[in-house]
Each structure stands twice: as C-alpha cells, then as structure tokens.
Symmetry: D2
Subunit: 356 residues, 4 copies
Amino acid sequence: MSWNTFGRVLRFTTWGESHGPAIGAIVDGCPPGIALAEGDLQPFLDARKPGQNKFTTQRKEADEVRILSGVFEGKTTGTPISLLIENTDQRSKDYSEIANTYRPGHADYAYDAKYGFRDYRGGGRSSARETAMRVAAGAVARKVIPEVKIIAYVAEIGGDRIDPANFDAAEIGRNPFWCPDAAAAKRWEALVDETRKAGSSLGAVVECVATGVPAGWGAPIYAKLDSDLAAGMMSINAAKGVEIGDGFEAARLTGEQNADAMSPGENGPEFAANHAGGIAGGISTGQPVVCRVAFKPTSSILTPVASIDRQGEATQVRTKGRHDPCVGIRGTPVVEAMVALVLADHKLLHRGQTGR
Amino acid sequence: MSWNTFGRVLRFTTWGESHGPAIGAIVDGCPPGIALAEGDLQPFLDARKPGQNKFTTQRKEADEVRILSGVFEGKTTGTPISLLIENTDQRSKDYSEIANTYRPGHADYAYDAKYGFRDYRGGGRSSARETAMRVAAGAVARKVIPEVKIIAYVAEIGGDRIDPANFDAAEIGRNPFWCPDAAAAKRWEALVDETRKAGSSLGAVVECVATGVPAGWGAPIYAKLDSDLAAGMMSINAAKGVEIGDGFEAARLTGEQNADAMSPGENGPEFAANHAGGIAGGISTGQPVVCRVAFKPTSSILTPVASIDRQGEATQVRTKGRHDPCVGIRGTPVVEAMVALVLADHKLLHRGQTGR
Amino acid sequence: MSWNTFGRVLRFTTWGESHGPAIGAIVDGCPPGIALAEGDLQPFLDARKPGQNKFTTQRKEADEVRILSGVFEGKTTGTPISLLIENTDQRSKDYSEIANTYRPGHADYAYDAKYGFRDYRGGGRSSARETAMRVAAGAVARKVIPEVKIIAYVAEIGGDRIDPANFDAAEIGRNPFWCPDAAAAKRWEALVDETRKAGSSLGAVVECVATGVPAGWGAPIYAKLDSDLAAGMMSINAAKGVEIGDGFEAARLTGEQNADAMSPGENGPEFAANHAGGIAGGISTGQPVVCRVAFKPTSSILTPVASIDRQGEATQVRTKGRHDPCVGIRGTPVVEAMVALVLADHKLLHRGQTGR
Amino acid sequence: MSWNTFGRVLRFTTWGESHGPAIGAIVDGCPPGIALAEGDLQPFLDARKPGQNKFTTQRKEADEVRILSGVFEGKTTGTPISLLIENTDQRSKDYSEIANTYRPGHADYAYDAKYGFRDYRGGGRSSARETAMRVAAGAVARKVIPEVKIIAYVAEIGGDRIDPANFDAAEIGRNPFWCPDAAAAKRWEALVDETRKAGSSLGAVVECVATGVPAGWGAPIYAKLDSDLAAGMMSINAAKGVEIGDGFEAARLTGEQNADAMSPGENGPEFAANHAGGIAGGISTGQPVVCRVAFKPTSSILTPVASIDRQGEATQVRTKGRHDPCVGIRGTPVVEAMVALVLADHKLLHRGQTGR
C-alpha cells in the first residue's frame, strides 16, 4: 500500500515523481503565528549540494520552493502549508532500456511486484528526488522547535572514520563531504575520486546531534522518541542501519562502561556521559540527542551487474557516464530534516497530553 | 504523550504496569475465521525463559494468558481480541528507596520529567514486563501470516560473536542463550557467569530472519517495511541500534560487494546474495527478511553508580542481590514478536490497496 | 474491517462480546496527575438504568468496573488506563434458533456478509453491551474537562416532544425516561406501557448540551468538532440521525431567523441566539454545544417479521417474552459519554497545536 | 489543531486558502492500475455550477484541475495523486473592513479564538472554495468503486419539499437546483428569486443515494460506514444535520413500521423496505445507501446583523451587492464527493482485513 504521511500531530505528506511536473509536500498541524517565508526554506534546499554556503545566492542548480498555503502576512495560520517545487530539469532521455530492466539494489523489481507496474523514469516515486521535500518540510519543522539546534555530518565514508578529536563544526560547510574533520575530508577527497574513476561506489555513515531538547519528549510505548527517529531515518533512501547514542557499540560495553551517571545540576541533573544518546525509556533526558544512519553504496555503478528484465530473462545492468560514487553523503541534510520533523512532532505531542 | 498502539491495519494496544493487577493487549483488525486459542499463544510465553522446550508443560513460572474476546467457536470473529495476564507475583517489597531515586540508564528520570510523577514499583509502565504482551500479540500475528517462518537468535554477547559456519537452528532451543552456535553457547556460559559474579552486565545483539515473505509488502514512503521494522524493534526496552541486511557493514562495502545480482528463477528472480536483507526501496523482494537489534547492558548492576534523587540531591544507586547480567538475551522472543506484528500488518495493508 | 479505536489524542479502544467472559476499554493519552478511581466511574454505570439516583448503593444489577492500569496512588500516570467489567450474567439460553436466523434491522446479516460468520449470542460484538464501556471511558474523559458540564436527556419519544417551557434539569433523574419535562414524562409512561403491551416499539430523540466549552476547540477541516461529534453519536447502536444546534430545522429558517448576532461581552462576545449549537466553521464559539441524536425503534418486537435464515430460506423472526419497547432511552448516558470523549480529545488536540 | 486528512486507507488531504495562489489535494492509498486523467475529474468540477451539462466545453468559469503526480501512462501508480487548481480569480478587494470584523454565523470569530489570527480574505481556509478539492478527490474515489453509482440532489429548499412521486433522475441536470422534481424546481425558482431580491437567504436539504454497494462494507465499532458518512458530511460548510435512511423520521415510527423485512433472493436477501438506508450495525446490507444533509441558510445577507469587531466593540455586518441566497444547493456535488470518498475507503478497508 501507499502511505505517504509521516508524523502524529505535526504531519507531513509528500507527493511527486522524479519526472512528473513537480514534487511537493503538505505540512499539517503546524502551530499558528510562526514567521515563515520561502527564505526560511530555500537555504536548506540550496545546501543539498555540499560545499556551498547555506546563504549563497547562486541558486540556479537548486530547486526553488514555493509556499502555496498556510501562511498569511508572513506568519503561519495553523492551516496546512503546501510546498511545491517544479521539476524543471525535464531531460528527454531514452528510457526504453530502464523501462524493461530491473536495476539490482534499487526498488524497481519490488515496485513492480507490489503495484504491477511503475513509473520507471529516474526511479519514479522511489527516486531520491522526494527527499528534497523532506528537506523543505524539515525547515518548517525547525521553526516549531527554535530552542533546538540540529547538526548532521558525515562520520565515515567507505570505512574511513573521522577523528572525534579533530571535530570542528565550522569545517562541515567548508568541504564537499559535510565532514567536521579537515584531515578526514582530505583523505575522502582522494578516496571518492579514486572510486569514481574506478566506476565503483562507497557507503557512508551520517551522524546527527540535536542540542536543546528538554527532558520529557517521547510517547511511550509505541511512539518512543527513538522509535520515531529510527522510523524516520530508516525511511531515507539507501538507509540500512540506525543507531541511538552508542548504538551497536553499546552492545559491546559493560554496564559500568555504559552508565550515564547523574549528579546535581542547576537546570536538571548533570550527566557524566551520554552513552544513551539523550534518550532513556523512549523519552528525552535533556542530553544531546545523538543518532546515526548507515547508507549502503549505490547500485548504480559502471561495473555490469547480472539482473533480469520484465519478462524474467537474464540481462546485465550498468550505469553509463557520470555517476555519484557516494550517495550517502547527500543523506546528510535529509537526516537533519527527519530529526527536525520528529522532534517538532514530539514537542506538540508532549504539549497536547501534559500541557507542558 | 502516551501512545500505546502499534500498527496501521492490524493494530495492537498494550496496557498494564509491572505491579498493577494485570497486563494486557488488544489486537484489532485481525482477519476473521482464523483458528485461535490460548494454546496457540501460551508456548511463546513459556518460551520467554530461554532453554525450555516451547511445548513444555512446566508452566508454573510462565504467565498464563487468557483470551477474553474476539474468538468464537475456536475462530477469530474479526472483532478485537483481548488478551490478559494477571500479575500473580505481587511481592511486597520496600520501594521507598526506589521511589525517591533515579536509577541511571533507566527511564525513571525521563518519566518524571515528562509526567510529573511515575509508578516506580518495578519500573511501572517502563518495565520489560510489558513485553510479555508483545509476545502474546505476536503469536496472534503469526496466525495471520502462516506462510512466513520467523526465527530470532542471539548473534553476539559482550562482543563475542557466533560463527555463521557453525549455524544450527536446532541448537537455538538447547542452550540458555537462544544461540545457534554450540561453541559460542559454551563460551557465553563462562562469560555470562563471570559477569554475574562480578556484579556487572553485558550487551547483546539479536538477529531475526523471516522466510516466506513474498515480494511486495511495504508501503512507500513512510510505511516502508524496513521503517516499520526499525520502529518496532527500537521500541523494545534497551534497544539502541537496528540494522536491516548488512546494516552498518553495508556502509563499508563497495557497490560491487554490496550488489544483490538477480538471475531468472522459477518463482520470481533468483538472487546471488542478500546484502539488502530482503527489502529494497522499503518493499520486500521475496528474499529472507533479515534484521538485527543491539541491546545495551543493563544499568542494574552491583557496582554503585552516582545519581540524584527526586529532590535533586546526589546519591548512589546499586542493585542488591541477584541480577540479570544480560537482559538483551530476553529480547529474542520480543524481536520475533515485533517482526511478526509488522509483517502481518503489512500483509493486510498490501491486500487492502492492491487486492493482492 | 474492524476498527475499535475512537479519538485522535485521547484515544479509547473497546473490546468484548455480549456473552464473552468480559468487556473492557483502554483509554490512552489521558493527561497525568488527574485523580481517578473506580468511584469516579461507577456512578455513571449505575445510572445506565434510568430512574436511579446516580449515587445509589444498590448496585447489584449494575456492572462493576475495575481499573487495572494507568492509575497510581490515586492519580493517572499518563499511561494507558485499562477498564474491565466481567460479564456475570451468563444465562444459558438456547441459541440454536438465533444462530441460524437473521433478525431484520439488526446487524446479523451484515456481520455474516462481512466476516463470514459471527458470534450470534446476544448480538455478540454488535450488542449494546459494548456501550457500557463507552460510559466508563466517558467518565474518564470528564475528568480531563472538569470545566465542562454535560447533560443529556430524552427530548422526544414516538413523536411526542417535551415542551422547552417546562424544562427542569432536576426532573431528569426523577423519572424512568431521563425526561426534563414532568408532564411529558407522565405522557410517556402511558405511551411506553401501551407499546410494550402491544409488543411493539418506539423510537426516541436524545438531546445533549455541554456548557463551559471555551471558544477554539475543533480542528478544521476534517476533525471539526461537529464532525467528530456526528461520528461519535452515529456510532451508537440504533442511531439514524445527528443534529448540531437547530439541525434540520435550520434548513427551514431564513438567514435572518438563523443569525446568532453578537454584541460585546465581558469574556468574549455575547450571543443573541444559539442556532449554531455552539459550533461555527467546525470550531466551538464558547456557546453551549447542543447536539441531538435520533434512535430508531428496535426491531426486536413481538410481531413476527419476515426474514431469511443462514441458508437463504424464508423464515419469520419474533422476540419472545419481555422486550424493551424503547431502546433509544438507554442511549442517553451513551450520548453524554461520547460527547465527553470528543470534547476531551479536542481539548488536548487544541492544546497540542496552539499551546492553549 | 489543524487536521486536514480524511480517510483511513484511501486518505485525502486538502490545502489552500480562498485567496492564496492555489488550492489542492493529495489522494493517497489509491490502488494502482486505474485509468485516470484530468478528463475524469474536470466534468465534476464543471458541474459545480448547477444547470450545466457535465460534458460542457464552456469551462471559463470552472476551475481547471491538474494532476501532478501518481499517474503514469494514463494509469494510477499507487503513489500519491496530487491535484492542483490555481486561484485565477484574484480580485483585489478592500478587505480592511472584513479583516477587523467578525461575520456572525461564519467561522471568523472561532478561527481567531483558536489560532489568534486568520487569513480573512474571502474566509481564508474556512471558505467553501476548499470544497472544489473535495469534488476533485471524490472523482478519483469514484474510479476505485466503479461498481457503485452515486446520485445527490436537493430534496428541500426553505421547507418546500420535492414529491417522491415526481422523482425523475434526468431532471436533476436540467434545472439550477439539482432538483429531481420538475414542479418543485419551478416553485423554487420563484422562491429563491424572491429571497434574493429581499436580500435574505434559505437553507436546503440534500439527499444522496448510492446503489451497487455490496453487503459488508463498514468497520465496527468506530469506523462504521454510517459513522464515517456522518463525519464526512458534517464536515461540509454549513452542514447542521445528517441522516441515514429515515433518519429523524425513524424516531417517529413504530418497530413494525420501521422493519426492513427480508425474503429469499437470487443474490442475497430481498428487502421489503429500506428504512435503514442500506446500513445496519454500521455495515452495508447491499441495499441502496441513503443519506441526507441539512444546510443552514448563509449568514451573508443584506440585512445588517449585530456583531463585534476584533477589538470587541459593537458593530454591524451586512453583505453588499450580489449574494448567494441558498448556498446549500452548492453542497450537492460535495455531498456526492464525500460519499464516494467514504465508500471507496471502506471498500479498501474491508478488502484489507477480510481479503474480500
């Protein structure tokens, strides 16, 4: 079945295929009275291309978003906010081959098995193009949680990790990898370049930290904050794993090593560590919320891969020409957006039930 | 806020605190005409204690589940199925200390921050006792998907992994660890025993494989099968990470290594590998659905950990007496149950929209 | 399909068949910290038998409700509240006839057409027995909206209407009809008695007024307050019509006659009239919320009615022995409960999005 | 709060204000493989102006709908269908007066009380303009239920009723009132004209009949078919009452009069009458589904009505110039659309749980 709405109180619905006339999103449940204009969203869309300063005016390649409803005299009315981006890049390609072939690792075969047929152009609805709308909707969500600051960055490419000791937030916007470690960024430049020339691809791990989240957000038992974060991030194209706090590393620690000891503090407890990643029992503790997403390497590589066509006959699939050797990098602003959407939703959920 | 319903078409709601009179669950949306009786559920509850044969008659320690509605003349009526387990083990403990203290790593502080106060006895609603109802509800879900076989097992304890070459499904029920590798089970016996004597605790990784899932289940974009699996598993107590297929390892493979090449087969394509874990684009491909959950080590250890009390004053918390050194093991039947519930839900979702 | 949950933030789920061991409800999303005990709910269940003082101690015939979760030290914890009533009245009747016959006007045929078979004893899930749980859940909801006062009464039986000029709220609890007009109650006594002796049945109209509802509750466009009220009331057994304010009479007024003119007041506007029934554009205006439900006459009458059996053969159905000649009367506490549940839900919805 | 999605499996979300750049709707959950093009929707939008043949090419005044996603090669893909209508009629009016005044009977005051401020131009989100999207979405829904035929018509204006004996379906499209009784249409012409000249307004009652609905649709207990129909219709602007079958008249019948006797038939039972309006126990019986909506007279009349302004000061409101004396008439295509949407949703719900 098709289910294109995410969220419980602050709900957003996306629509649009890669090669349709446009893509869009509706954000419903946004509180009224919040200042909102295209200028609040566009920078995040511009930043989808790594390496560019968020406030650049060079927008030719970026998608231009329009707000078609839900805002009046510069402020949200509380009614649904419709966002739309026109698909201006309508390249007329010869799709006859792709139409009849299932690319391994992509959703082609699965979509056909489910629906009976699919819009095969550029991946149709399964294309990563849809994530542009998540970024736009995420920008709206950030306005609902101005007290929260969210930063995502690439922590690992092809098994090569950043060194936490070299962490510099300002570095994130200065290289094409959203990498907070200048030395790692340099290594990655060579690695990715090498991979591109070889016609191969690499996976990546994106980490996201949200600070300023107060204690108390999250709705046990089946709308736990970590549960909703996991769902949001696993829904991103190419995502194969999700962690909160120490994640799989926590499974390798002892109880003593994993403890987040508490001591008295001015505004709530002071924590000696944050192995939990800011969430305990599915509810935020006031510590930074830390999560991580693993992205697999794209299957669109120059090396031929055995596959089948729609008639079930053996064939081979290979990408021609220029390809993106590490799609996971582009997941970074999408991860930020999903975290923003989940946190904003939970702020409203919490307020609804407790009045706080 | 409180949100205790999981699922979209096949929906289950749990209720009950650790020290209340009972715990229960409602399963709503179950198709009519399915044979169902307590005997279909009880073995799964009995099996929550590892090492026991599922069909044992020694049920004294296990919880006895009753079906109070939704079944008539031995078959489901299509109306809500109410399950109830009485809390017979009402130990009168002295809770004054726990009432006033926040145990680090548990949900105590977070619940108080959210709700203003909490039922502190045995963890109240945050207790793992709730998972008994998931296991019972999961047993109902299995009846909806008789074509699917689900097996979960512990793949790793305290960093010590099973060897896939030694995998023997029959071994799973023969040791106290749901371990499919006899050699690993032996090592773990020593490791866990050692840890218990030291008053410490270990984490674990549980893996689950579902075979017989046809291609086509999953509802893009925000009810993707992997998304809902991630949510379901992250909602389990102590879960800190979730993987589908190769998970975080996929992020360290190249495109060539990660490819699941396809070739013609009799019933749909043959796959050369299953790095994707049976899900592509959020929809099942017909391959085994493989997922993994990381459980952190329990914070209930004999070593004192610094914490604060309800007045914000410094204090120390330590567990007294006998403790469970590896709670992650007990997550195994719960993981199976959540996978069953998600798959059954998706079978009905898919049928609703496509008629298939 | 089966869908047994009502509400969006304050959600309740009912379960249980007429002749199963018990019936119950889960109320999820209730704010924490509200004083709640069986004594808050029992009077409303006792009052399901009209004519009895709400605080009577003669409870033998009434159902005894137990709170099994969600309350600690006398206050709601914010976790799900499980309510249960045991079906103690297990009369062993000979159901062979009913099992094989479809009673016209009841849900028998429709349930079989939908599910393939049904629990036919006493109407199974379609029985009005389920409404006891609505009344219990409604009592919980009232605690969420202490600022609101809700009164329902029978306004019409068999076409005979109350005279608004004779309205006396105190009269409602003094006669077996929840009638606020003593003269009408007298007429109805004769009318209903007459109907019972004739083996026939009558319909009824129940009116409900909620005062103290502030302006602003309701969520356009598809969770309008009047929309949710209509859904809640139409879901009651035997309901065939719903009105807000003047309802169908409004369709017969002119714009001048229907106007609710406003003038300055101390706490918001003063209204010259309330044709709108307290709701405009789907949002409460601060005026009393007025709604009305039409209940059809029961089909369980002594007069034989032509019908068919499960094999499709012609047969006749007639009720034997004592029957209830006006089931609509019993809808009165159920209408109050549904109004309470909808209003409480909307209070939380409104607070969630606007913070007010 | 804002809640702009309707439906459970086939869900549609509308957006857009009266004087924003556009209005739109997303239809999600539509089965794949259904032929769909603008030509399937446009006639229903054209028909919003009564008196015009559905297949007219004179579309200047009607809104032109575009399908922006969810359709490929002429068939639905199963992904969300985005519909958009541009607001071309951007009259620059002087809104200063309306901005500061609350029109009685409209949603103005209620929206301000809820959100703190509102888009006052032409009613903003509360405007009937939104119903154009319901009509478009309803046209999509009809494609999901080709077996069902839905006809709505005005049954009463200002208390003057049609005569069922004069019922002629073909007459509906021949007069400006969607009236199936030629004699009534004549009377209404005079009545409405008179009312317009007097600067007054009238209410109306719209009736809708759906034939071809099989037995079994509807999801007890809280997604009963009549419940969802009531919610859908009560959500239409100016709706004040909803009836199923005999509605309030049923409350005035005896059990004998209201009985829908059954006898053996070829395809399921034959019914002697249809007082129930095709729904029993919340599930369709196979009989025509009959429902009715009461629309109040518009408050936009030439007669001044006392009101208050935003500062709480006394003022008067009167509509200037041309006004619509009976807005209820325009509810007719909207009622059809909501009935189509509810029935299509229930077809999929039923199929999801029962496989039928």
